[in-house]
């Protein structure tokens, strides 16, 4: 801030780009909002899907979850919400874990957990759908 002189050709944006704690500006904020908007209709759809399988036996559940429309809705929900929670937990960690090493470990753990959960869910939905 102090070295900002009117003589400089560099814009204020150019000066701060790739600085900051995350090195990626508002991308994180924007993706959090993007997935939150997507999650509204997807959550309603998933609640309807879960209501439709309540009390049914395994064969009926597999048939419902494996149908294309339901499977695609579930996939969209899982991808959007897992990405959303990955970003959200990153913010929580950055807010509360101040030790650099602990923060690094926690952020890595967050990424591992989110990817594992997301991949397992996607795999299960595809398996149900393709009937292998």
């Amino acid at each position: 801030m102090t070295d900002h002189t009117p003589n400089s050709i560099r814009t204020p944006l150019g000066r701060v780009r790739h600085l900051g704690s995350a090195h990626n500006g508002t991308g994180h904020f924007w993706h959090q909002r993007l997935t939150s908007v997507a999650n509204v209709p997807l959550t309603i759809a998933v609640i309807v899907i879960i209501m439709s399988i309540l009390g049914r036996n395994h064969a009926a559940v597999v048939q419902i979850l494996g149908s294309s429309l339901v499977a695609i809705t579930l996939l969209l929900f899982v991808i959007s919400s897992v990405y959303h929670m990955w970003l959200g937990m990153q913010v929580i960690i950055e807010d509360y874990v101040h030790d650099e090493n602990a923060k690094l470990v926690a952020l890595m753990g967050n990424t591992f957990f989110s990817f594992a959960v997301g991949l397992a869910a996607v795999f299960a939905i595809l398996k149900l759908s393709f009937g292998l």
Binding site: S36, M51, I92, I125, L128
Partner: protein, 140 residues
């Protein structure tokens, strides 16, 4: 760069007042609850994955999930998960409204926040009543 940052951090600067200074307000409490429900849903995805993987694995694995969900603890976890999901979703919509610049007046912000809390409780109970009605009319 790093040394510079460290030196700044070590300076004995005045700190901004933290939580214990403020009188608890509804908007503040719901903001905290929004984060807590987010964290709970994070762990709750394990339930979702267990359910999906069990359904993909076969009747025995699926029966184990069904058995657990029918225990008292399973029911309580599911009920809590439902409420956390609804509360976080409604809270998210409230934050999106605020992101667009609406609802910041003293009346609106309180109304939005109260609606978030009351709405989440009412919707959760309604969903569970509907759920039990569906279960009551379907064959196992």
């Amino acid at each position: 760069m790093m040394a510079e940052a460290k030196a700044t951090r070590l300076k004995n600067r005045p700190l901004s007042p933290h939580l214990q200074i403020y009188k608890p307000m509804l908007t503040m409490m719901m903001s905290i609850v929004h984060r807590i429900t987010g964290g709970a849903l994070y762990l709750g995805t394990l339930l979702l994955v267990w359910w999906l993987v069990a359904a993909a694995s076969g009747p025995n694995a699926y029966a184990a999930v069904q058995w657990f969900m029918e225990t008292l603890i399973g029911r309580l976890i599911l009920f809590g998960y439902t409420w956390a999901l609804i509360h976080h979703a409604l809270g998210g919509i409230r934050h999106l409204i605020w992101d667009l610049g609406y609802g910041f007046g003293p009346v609106e912000r309180e109304w939005l926040t109260a609606a978030n809390l009351v709405g989440s409780i009412v919707l959760t109970i309604v969903l569970w009543i509907v759920g039990y009605l569906i279960m009551g009319t379907s064959f196992r």
